[in-house]
C-alpha cells in the first residue's frame, strides 16, 4: 500500500458503477491520492464526477471495483467502523448541504460535538479558528438561509476541515459563485491544503480552477479517468476530448473577455 515510498491516502481500482436500470456511468476508473496531493477531476456534466465522489465516501455502492480510504477497503467495513473512518475524511457538497436549522457556528461544530471531540472551550477554539481561516467569523450566528452562497460554500469547507481530516473531497466548490468569490474560495482552499497538509480530491468542470489549485488533473471521459497530469501537460495532451475541453475554455474566456488559459 505504498506509492513512491509514501502511504496512499485514497485509491480506486477498476471502479464500475451504473444507476439502477441505466448504462454504467463509470466503467473502469483507477487512481490514487498521496499525502498532501491534490487531484482535480474534470469532465463534462453527467460524466459521473459527483458520483465518483459519492462512491469514495460510501454514499453509493460500486457494481465492481475497490475503494480504499487510508488503506482500508470500505466495502469490508461495518457501519460503526466506517463512521469512525469518516472522521478522517471531509466532504464538501456542490449544494453546501448545511443543516438549515443550525447556525453557521453550530454547523461547523456539529461533527466535533457528535463525536465527543474536546470540551466546550476546545470546540469553540477550533471552530473559531476554522471560521477565521475562511473569513466568515462575522457570520457565525447566522442561519444558512440568511447568507450568500459564497459564505455557505466557505462554511461547508470549514465543516469539512474541522475534524482535521487527512483527505477532503470537494464537489464543484466554485459552482455558482461570481468571479471574486470563486477566486477567494480557491485561494482559501489552497491555503488550507498548504497549512494542514491535507490531501484533496476535487471535482469540477472548471479547468481554470484546476490550474489555480495546482496538483494533477484527471479527465473523466466515457466512464474512464485519463492518467492524471498537471495543467501544462494536459494542455499539450493529444486526446480529442481534452482538446475539446480546452476549446470550450477558450470560447468561455473569449465570451467573458478574459485572457485564454
Amino acid at each position: 500500500m505504498s506509492e513512491r515510498g509514501m502511504s496512499v491516502i485514497a485509491s480506486v481500482h477498476n471502479l464500475r458503477f451504473g444507476y439502477a436500470g441505466q448504462e454504467p456511468i463509470l466503467r473502469r476508473v483507477n487512481f490514487h491520492v498521496l499525502p498532501g496531493q491534490i487531484l482535480v477531476i474534470c469532465g463534462l456534466s453527467g460524466q459521473g464526477k459527483s458520483t465518483l465522489l459519492r462512491l469514495l465516501i460510501g454514499l453509493e455502492k460500486p457494481d465492481a471495483g475497490v475503494v480504499r480510504l487510508l488503506g482500508r477497503d470500505i466495502s469490508g467495513l461495518n457501519a460503526a467502523a466506517f463512521n469512525d473512518l469518516k472522521k478522517e475524511v471531509g466532504f464538501v457538497f456542490q449544494s453546501p448541504a448545511l443543516i438549515s436549522n443550525k447556525t453557521i457556528f453550530e454547523n461547523v461544530a456539529l461533527p466535533l460535538i457528535y463525536h465527543n471531540i474536546g470540551d466546550e472551550d476546545e470546540i469553540r477554539y477550533r471552530v473559531d479558528n476554522a471560521l477565521e481561516m475562511l473569513l466568515i467569523k462575522d457570520h457565525q450566528h447566522q442561519y444558512p438561509a440568511n447568507v450568500s452562497l459564497g459564505i455557505l460554500k466557505r462554511a461547508a469547507v470549514a465543516r469539512a476541515m474541522i475534524m482535521r481530516p487527512k483527505l477532503i473531497l470537494m464537489d464543484e466548490p466554485t459552482a455558482g459563485l461570481d468571479r471574486i468569490s470563486r477566486s477567494v474560495l480557491l485561494a482559501l482552499i489552497a491555503n488550507i491544503r498548504r497549512i494542514n497538509h491535507v490531501s484533496m480530491v476535487l471535482v469540477t468542470h472548471d479547468l481554470l480552477a484546476a490550474r489555480e489549485l495546482g496538483g494533477e488533473i484527471g479527465v473523466l471521459k466515457e466512464g474512464e479517468l485519463l492518467q492524471p497530469m498537471n495543467f501544462e501537460q494536459l494542455k499539450n495532451c493529444q486526446d480529442s476530448f481534452v482538446e475539446f475541453l480546452f476549446r470550450q475554455l477558450e470560447q468561455e474566456a473569449a465570451m467573458s473577455g478574459e485572457a485564454p488559459a
Partner: protein, 273 residues
Amino acid sequence: MTRLLAWMGLRYRKSYVGQLMELGLQASWCAVHKAGNRRQAMDHLISQIYFTGVEAIPLVAFLALVIGSATILQAATVMPKIGAGDYFGNVMVLVVIREVGPLFTAFLVAGRTGSALSTYLGNMKVQQEIDALKTMGIDPVRYLVFPSFVATMLSMFCLTVIFNLVAIFGGYLVVKMLSLFLSDFAEVQLSLSLFLERILASMGVMDGVLGIIKPVTFGMLVSVIACFHGMAVTNDIRAVPKATTLGVVNSFVCITLFDVLFAVPLLANLRIL
C-alpha cells in the same frame, strides 16, 4: 429450505412493513447502544417533546372538550330514554377512554407531528443534508429519527391522558353550564360524584394497561411511518409533499388497524358494555 427462508426474509425486508420494522428496530437499538453525544441527543429530544407534546396541548384540550361534551350530553339525555341509563359510565369509558381519546390524539399527532417530520426529513434529503450527516460519520437514524421516535411516544401518552381528563371533567362542566342556561338541556340531572362513580366502576385493569400501551404504540407508528417516508424521498423536491401525504394517510390506516387489534383482548374479556 434455507434458501426459501432467506428469499422470504429478503422479500419481507424489502416490503413496506419490513422496511418500517427495520427503521423501528434501528431506532430502538439506539436506546440500547449508546453512541454520539448524549447532551446533543437530549437537546433534540426536549425540542421534539416541546413541539409534539407541549405545543399540541391547546389543540388536544379543545378537541377533548368538544368531544367530551357531546358524548356526555348524548349519554345523559338519550340513554335514559331508551332504558340504558345504568350504562352511562360504560359508554364514557368505552367511547372516551378506550377509543376516542387515543384514536383522536393519534390522528392529531399524525396530522401535525407526522406531517412536519416527513416534510422536515424530506427537505433535508433533497438538500443533501442527510447525506452530509452520513459523510461526517453521523448516523441519521440516531441523530434524527431516534429523538423523534422517543418524543412522539412520550408525547402521545401524555396527550392521551390530557385528552381523557379534559374530555371527562371539561365535558362535564360544559354540560352542567348548558343545563343551567338552556332550557333544552334542563332535564340533564347528573351530580359529579355519581358521574365519577359510574365511570370508575366501569373501568377495568385492561383499560389501564391498554391506556398505556395504545398511545405509546400509536406514537411509535406515527414517528416510524413519518420518518420512513421523509427519508425515502429521492433528490426531487416534488417528492416531499407526496411523502408527507403518504406518511399521514398510512399513519391513519395503521393507527385504525392497530386500534382494531387492541379491541381483541377487550372483546375476549367480554368487556363490551
